[in-house]
Symmetry: C2
Subunit: 334 residues, 2 copies
DNA sequence: CTGAAAGCGCTTACAG
DNA sequence: CTGAAAGCGCTTACAG
């Protein structure tokens, strides 16, 4: 089963390769009706399918973008990348999604692989390392957008949540409901990952605003595996918190597992808010109050400006961050 | 910022392009140490990155496979595609995942786009139409694996769940727990989609096995939007079922929403089993009894045999279906 | 041990 | 209105 090429079509139709190519690219300006028909017939008879690889080589565009998420396990990542795919799809672009698995080396390898494949641009949720790599891409003016996390000192467009506000919305709500002692649990903060750091800052600022004292013991950061132990320890404290803010969906899951296992009642024994509006929040019992990120909008915007930059070289991407507003979804866990 | 090509490296190192290419492909057999070092240095100095598109054109292999899922909203799809990506990643292959959104036209367009992009093979969850397209690919001996669904009359390898057994496990468990009247809800059965049809068959066979009479009124199939209404109607029946088997994760979600809204107690008012071990099953209250699919194993196997076929042309893919066993996860909803 | 040349399947500027 | 030719950035069989 030999592959049919443009040369076969040309021969079959009795025209030149150029003409077939013109036809394929819909440059009909000077093409005679008869020629057009001949080519069309030849393509159909032979079942010809153009080779996009050859085309890309010549055109220096693959009509493909790469997206590298830091960790695909977050619903945030899957929702955002779905939005990105939708936009790309409408514009005739393909998407290759890679999962860096929170590993900077993997991230680096993916960036290199994707660039070797000549993707036209990149949307990445950076792990936090590889700063030099990003700096180099800025210099090259390579089309790239950061998502969820950023480097304040590297001039790259970034689409971020107003993370401090996310924590503040939660704290305000706790306070409004009469709680005064609350804890924050995040996944490891060590790596100075933007949202974790900012959510922590927002949490502390909100306490201050309400004239409450931050108890350092009530702020925990642990790896996914250690969250339950950390929470357990936290709840054994003499002045234990009555309410917990879960820094992301993965933390929330662990908290809910713990709560179930220890047969605590929400919100009686422990009030709870999660950042990230998990899919089951509305039909969980009790329905879980969350702070929702506008995942769809964030994905949409990053894809839109990236594609704009790709299509129109002169378009300048914003060289700073763009912030999106979180929304409190009031339900029954507080 | 001009792209550095192999010609630049060759010039810089004072050797020919062939030699640089040999070096890149690690064909060191006859290469002098001095040459090797020169080339290495030139590559580093220039920051040369090979162009995979050019390479693919020549080698007629993109080291990329396409996967088209029927509907990405199912956790099954995301889990399986994650397993596929893992395997591919280990073997140095890339994956482009597309979502057909249950739309045969979209499926067709994706297949054509991916083939135009010269992917080396395809794993697809077929929507059910496009039979001719699949037949043609069989004729061409194009590497393709079907997943979750298949065409019994088209000789294509397919990785499937033992769907009848999935229903039977559920029914057996209901019976064991003393239930005698149960319903089955699936998403639309109209299109004769393999798992839905087979789960229905399994359900009916299981009833028969237990000497129970199938009540046609208790078997419902509706679009996602209509499930709650359908369930409502079902529960208004005079002889209403005491237990429900949700045919997949999306159905389960709708049932849980309904249950919550109508303040029913599980399992007292309604016992429940869902096919697909949803992530929240274990920490939902009550913890939900499910029938789990070995999603990881299924994805792994499809990727493995596909890659084997791609790498070793002579390897013959199975020309029939391979079935995987479901597992009952006993929890508290029955 | 290394290089010149052909070729992968397209597109495009230019000639006629 | 259409075609011949060059070229995109690689790889590879072959010559030396």
């Amino acid at each position: 089963m030999k592959k049919i090429t443009i040369a076969d079509v040309a021969a079959h139709a009795g025209v030149s390769k150029s003409t077939v190519s013109q036809y394929l690219n819909e440059r009909y300006d000077y093409m005679g009706k008869a020629t057009k028909d001949k080519v069309k017939a030849a393509i159909e008879e032979l079942g010809y399918q153009p080779n996009a690889v050859a085309r890309s080589l010549k055109q220096k565009s693959t009509k493909t973008i790469g997206v590298i998420v830091a960790n695909i396990l977050h619903t945030f990542s899957t929702e955002v990348s779905r939005a990105i795919e939708d936009v790309c799809n409408e514009e005739g672009f393909h998407t290759i999604v890679c999962n860096a698995d929170d590993d900077p080396d993997k991230e680096k390898r993916y960036i290199e692989m994707l660039r070797a494949k000549q993707v036209d641009g990149l949307i990445v949720f950076p792990t936090g390392n590889n700063r030099d790599l990003y700096r180099k891409m800025v210099e090259e003016d390579y089309p790239i957008i950061l998502l969820d996390r950023w480097f304040p000192d590297i001039q790259l467009p970034a689409i971020l949540l107003e993370n401090e506000l996310a924590s503040m919305l939660a704290v305000d709500h706790f306070v409004e409901k009469g709680y005064r002692k609350f804890g924050l649990i995040t996944t490891s903060i060590l790596k100075h990952i933007t949202p974790r750091q900012e959510r922590l800052n927002g949490f502390e600022k909100a306490l201050e605003k309400h004239g409450l004292q931050a108890n350092e013991q009530f702020i925990r950061s642990a790896s996914k595996e250690d969250i339950q132990a950390s929470l357990h320890d936290l709840l054994q404290q003499p002045e234990r918190p009555e309410a917990i803010l879960a820094g992301n969906d993965l933390v929330l899951t662990e908290v809910l597992k713990y709560v179930k296992q220890h047969q605590l009642s929400i919100p009686e024994d422990l009030a709870l808010i999660g950042i990230d509006d998990v899919p089951y929040a509305s039909f969980y019992t009790p329905a879980i109050t969350t702070v929702a990120q506008p995942t769809f909008k964030m994905g949409k915007m990053s894809a839109e400006i990236l594609l704009k930059k790709i299509v129109k070289k002169s378009f300048d991407l914003p060289d700073h961050e763009v912030r999106f507003q979180p929304t409190l979804m009031v339900r029954d866990s507080v």
